[in-house]
């Protein structure tokens, strides 16, 4: 019997889609050519941020997702959901002014913001460089362990009847006329009422198997991991430049310090972005830049050892918005990919919206800004 929904991708977006679709009463099958969270998700930090988005469609999506993740943290749990809050800092007065301006705009869109003068920074983050000029605190920013989040959501969905096939590669689509009616895989055909492309960085390749173009491309990012430490850093702390780096169209390397502690005790240090295709070569130059910037933000880290680094590919689209919704060029196919570095955070809302659309409900948010056919 065909499933109501086949989800391509067992990362966090596919997992959230499977979870919400199952909750809506749909029968769901998830396929991934690798393991759970083995691609885009496993290379992320697990950020659920509203702080780094100016008012607009993506912030609306992030606000919805932030609320949903909080619910999932209770309803599903087991993935280190931590409502730690974010602290964005600037090193000079003009940076503080720009941050405060952005915060005022975000506040109008419903984001909680607290402007923190230089003298009060230490109260929030005692180890911060005392020479910083000020910052803005975002209490709604949170973090999850992304691989656990994908795994727990999938486990919960399976308990409600969903099926998960890992190590199964999608090789093509089943069609009936123009309609997408399922997928071909390395282990056989999976007929379905609807197919969801949640393939992250590889979403463009899945789309091309269906004969449609979705311009998702990889942007490489490295993250350093320190030895386990007692809690040194309370929030996700990052420099104001991060916001402009994310929005940048420059292909060259960009690094801006993003530093946060985790439940496990390790401190994660990001973030770099560069467009080098799918090149996984370790770059000492990038790692060195990340370490130096982190020490500038938190001088205490100078005496701490880094024990490993990991890297992955953030799936970006030319307009830096994700691709969410039905594809009118291939009826039956829904896209849920291209979230760039915000995929963990935006996964919950993406999953809910896709489930609502497939189920024929009015979506909780207008998905028109994310429509797959918007590129030309």
């Amino acid at each position: 019997m065909p499933a109501d929904v086949v989800v391509i991708g067992a990362g966090v977006v596919g997992a959230a889609t499977a979870w919400y679709a199952t909750r809506a009463g749909l029968s769901v099958t998830v396929v991934d050519r690798g393991p759970v969270a083995g691609g885009t998700t496993g290379a992320g930090e697990g950020n659920i941020l509203v702080s780094d988005k100016p008012p607009g469609a993506e912030l609306d999506l992030a606000m919805l997702s932030s609320r949903l993740w909080r619910e999932l943290g209770t309803e599903v749990g087991g993935f280190e959901y931590d409502a730690k809050g974010g602290l964005v800092v600037a090193s000079a007065a003009d940076g503080v002014a720009a941050l405060s301006g952005l915060a005022a705009e975000q506040a109008k869109a419903g984001v909680d913001t607290v402007v923190v003068p230089a003298g009060d920074l230490a109260e929030h983050e005692p180890h911060l460089n005392p020479e910083l000029a000020g910052g803005v605190l975002y209490p709604q920013d949170a973090q999850v362990q992304p691989m656990l989040a994908a795994a727990r959501l999938l486990r919960s969905a399976r308990r409600s009847g969903a099926t998960v096939h890992t190590g199964v590669e999608v090789t093509g689509f089943l069609r009936s006329g123009g309609q997408v009616t399922g997928v071909r895989t390395s282990t056989g055909d999976l007929p379905a009422g609807a197919v969801v492309n949640a393939a992250g960085t590889w979403g463009g390749e899945i789309a091309s198997l269906a004969g449609v173009e979705v311009p998702v491309l990889p942007r490489r990012g490295f993250i350093l991991v320190t030895e386990p430490l007692p809690r040194l850093i309370r929030h996700k702390v990052y420099a104001a430049e991060y916001v402009s780096d994310v929005a940048s169209d420059d292909a060259a390397l960009q690094t801006s310090p993003v530093v946060e502690g985790t439940r496990a005790g390790t401190v994660l240090i990001g973030a770099s972005r560069e467009r080098v295709g799918y090149d996984r070569t370790l770059s000492v130059r990038v790692l060195r830049a990340l370490a130096a910037q982190a020490v500038e933000l938190f001088p205490v880290l100078a005496g701490v050892q880094v024990i490993r680094a990991y890297r992955g590919f953030r799936p970006y689209c030319p307009d830096h918005l994700p691709v969410i919704g039905p594809d009118p060029r291939a009826p039956g196919l829904f896209h849920a990919c291209g979230h760039e570095g915000a995929g963990i955070g935006l996964a919950a809302a993406t999953g809910l919206l896709i489930a609502e659309l497939i189920d024929g409900q009015q979506p909780s948010l207008d998905v028109a800004p994310f429509r797959p056919e918007r590129f030309r």
Partner: protein
């Protein structure tokens, strides 16, 4: 001439080339770290630098592998609790 290093105020003898961990075990000390979550005792396990069980503070730097650090005269070695940087916690 025999050499010693200081371990929590006690003089521990060692021979040239011996590791801190080997010298501690030879002196009858089998545990010098407690685990981060449950405070359980740890000392040499693998002895070859792989398992990170034998972490110890050497000359003020925590998380040194006692099995790899060569003992040196006048070294100050301290037991390590948890991550070894508890004084930095906020």
């Amino acid at each position: 001439m025999s050499h010693t290093f200081d371990f929590d105020g006690r003089a521990i003898p060692f021979t040239t080339g011996q590791s801190v961990g080997a010298a501690l075990v030879a002196a009858g000390i089998r545990a010098w770290r407690t685990t981060r979550r449950e405070g359980r005792p740890r000392g040499i396990f693998c002895g070859i630098g792989v398992c990170f069980d034998c972490l110890v503070e050497v000359d003020g730097v925590p998380n040194q592998r006692a099995c790899l650090v060569p003992a040196a005269a006048d070294m100050i070695v301290r037991r390590q609790e948890g991550a070894g940087r508890g004084h930095l916690a906020v």
